[in-house]
């Protein structure tokens, strides 16, 4: 038996809101029947498994694929499917339509046996995935996209394994942790990560979620549900809302040592942007990144403020670098209708334009490869 205080606190937060939500629903009169929420992800195969970590390969939707595949790495604190939440709001769909061969890392659920895994172990998981993709697609290099914490990992990976990366795409990636614009950055300075990890092992998602909700409690605990109430008769709105809620609270625990290192080395000592981060004896030097860089930043992101993501532009040695600033928050950048109209077509074109230079033998002239000859699936 152990007391999970945060689970209790989360419950004490949640239950009154569920109750008041129910009361509000009652006053709204008869409500249309809401079908069970479904995440409409595009079809994929699990092509590689390494412990809890899986590599997903999305089924191509066009006949010919670009020669350089894309690996997407999402944060470990939520699930990858935010990039493919529903049919009309899928970043993956944009990529597939452009002929990009898409692979995604699914971090899975860490168990107690994973508590000792460090950031370096996650980088090694990424490298196993990259090796698998290189071997099966015969591509020399891959395009690498990292979102949020996955962006930090992708920057570290590219610095350590630059010879395997063709281009780097960062989406709302925290790089400079000293900024005062983000509440998480302020709190991060005071957190005693040692006590949390020594006490819990893996850091529970309930504790992490409570922290995220407290960043903007009025909007996330009140206004969001008031808006839901206002739109409770709109079937599509309700479906979208429930999908988002499902994603928000479908969060795995975080391996303890990853959390310890992330808080102490990054939030408190800011070692990454100082080029002083050392993982497993290897120094992470962002100057070693010379590949084309696309930095996607949400201008109203409160989790990872733009001030935290923008500095990478000056820390890398890439000559081909571009920043796409988009008026959106941390999640809106992936799911808002505006982002799918204005941002993702541009981003996918940027990747497609750089997908011909995977190795010296592939240029725009040597055209695309047959979709059927892309990575082998398990089934």
């Amino acid at each position: 038996m152990s007391l999970d205080w945060f689970k209790m606190m989360e419950q004490s937060f949640k239950e009154p809101y569920i109750r008041s939500l129910n009361d509000m629903m009652k006053t709204a009169g008869p409500i249309p029947e809401i079908p069970a929420v479904r995440i409409d992800t595009l079809p994929y195969d699990v092509v590689f498994t390494d412990g809890r970590v899986k590599l997903l390969h999305y089924k191509p939707t066009v006949q010919e694929l670009l020669p350089t595949p894309l690996l997407i790495v999402y944060a470990q604190i939520n699930r990858y499917y935010i990039l493919d939440l529903q049919h009309d709001k899928s970043v993956v769909k944009h990529y597939l339509e452009k002929g990009i061969d898409v692979f995604v890392v699914d971090w899975g659920d860490p168990g107690p046996e994973d508590r000792y895994e460090t950031i370096y172990d996650q980088i090694e998981y990424m490298d196993d995935a990259v090796e698998y993709i290189r071997k099966t697609t015969k591509a020399e290099k891959i395009n690498l996209q990292g979102y949020c914490m996955g962006g930090t990992y992708s920057a570290i990976y590219t610095s350590l394994y630059h010879e395997k990366v063709n281009s780097l795409i960062l989406q709302a990636a925290p790089i400079d942790f000293t900024v005062q614009a983000g509440i998480l950055n302020i709190w991060g300075k005071y957190i005693d990560a040692d006590k949390i990890v020594d006490s819990y092992g893996n850091v529970p998602s309930s504790l992490l979620n409570l922290g995220f909700l407290m960043i903007d409690p009025v909007r996330l605990l009140v206004d969001k549900y008031v808006k839901f109430y206002e739109n409770v008769r709109d079937k599509d709105y309700v479906q979208n809302f429930l999908r988002m809620e499902k994603w928000i609270f479908d969060s795995p625990d975080l391996p303890g040592e990853v959390y310890r290192q992330f808080i102490k080395d990054l939030y408190q000592r800011n070692l990454l942007s100082k080029n002083e981060l050392v993982v497993e004896g290897k120094k992470v030097d962002l100057k070693k990144i010379r590949v084309p860089l696309l930095n996607i930043v949400g201008t109203s992101d409160t989790l990872v403020p733009p001030e935290s993501s923008i500095p990478i532009m000056d820390l890398v040695s890439s000559s081909d670098k571009e920043m796409l600033k988009f008026a959106s928050g941390h999640i809106g950048i992936s799911v808002s209708a505006r982002a799918h109209r204005d941002l993702w077509p541009k981003a996918s074109q940027w990747i497609a334009d750089r997908s011909f230079s995977s190795d010296k033998s592939t240029s725009k002239d040597s055209v695309k490869i047959k979709a059927s000859r892309s990575a082998k699936s398990k089934d």
Partner: protein, 210 residues
């Protein structure tokens, strides 16, 4: 201008709480180090006395004979005293945070009253809600961005972790006394598995590299 009823209520509530909590909060509010050291006697004394009492029990002949098996169980009474002391510390920090939030809410209420008095939003509840939302968001944002609050929240969290450590230790002692594997034993096993997995991964990588 006379004080509005909300302010009056909150003030009275804060004063009452402060009065009630005075022995527990003494010295911590003012930052007076000497007072901090000397004042909260009764909570610490109570916990320490219980600790001493249970520790002395270990030397009481009937217990000392069976110390090998009864020891861990009796140690739990000692832990219980520590847990009680920590719980009081957490409660104190919680009240302190609660007061900070109450102060911020009083400020928000004052601002709301002023806004409602100067620019009557009319009978449209949506407009009233929008004003409430704006003021509350701003008020809480200011509070949550404060370094002082961040420090207090981290201190609160840290105390909760201390308490968890003690309660977990309580259970460890109990499991040990009835010969059941404990969490720290499991953790040691997990560490070995982790080290083995890591070695294996390294070997595999070395064998695959050209």
């Amino acid at each position: 201008m006379s004080e509005d009823p909300y302010q009056k209520f909150y003030k009275a509530w804060i004063d009452a709480t402060k009065g009630y909590m005075a022995p527990w909060l003494a010295g911590t509010q003012t930052g007076d180090q000497n007072q901090s050291k000397s004042a909260p006697h009764f909570r610490v004394d109570w916990a320490m006395q219980s600790k001493d009492f249970f520790e002395r029990m270990l030397w009481f002949p009937p217990f000392s004979v069976i110390q090998g098996t009864a020891g861990p169980a009796i140690q739990n009474y000692v832990k219980y005293a520590e847990i009680s002391s920590l719980s009081i510390e957490i409660y104190k920090k919680w009240i302190d945070l609660y007061l900070e939030f109450s102060r911020a809410m009083t400020e928000v209420t004052t601002k709301l009253n002023t806004r409602f008095l100067t620019s009557a939003p009319g009978a449209d509840p949506k407009q009233v809600y929008a004003i409430w939302l704006e003021e509350l968001t701003q008020g809480l944002d200011k509070l949550l961005r404060s370094e002082e609050i961040a420090g207090k929240m981290a201190g609160f969290l840290s105390n909760i972790m201390d308490l968890k450590k003690e309660t977990d230790g309580f259970m460890e002692n109990y499991y040990k006394s009835i010969n059941i594997p404990t969490r720290s034993e499991m953790d040691r096993a997990y560490k070995e598995i982790y080290d083995l997995k890591k070695t294996l991964r390294k070997m595999k990588k070395n064998s695959e590299s050209p």
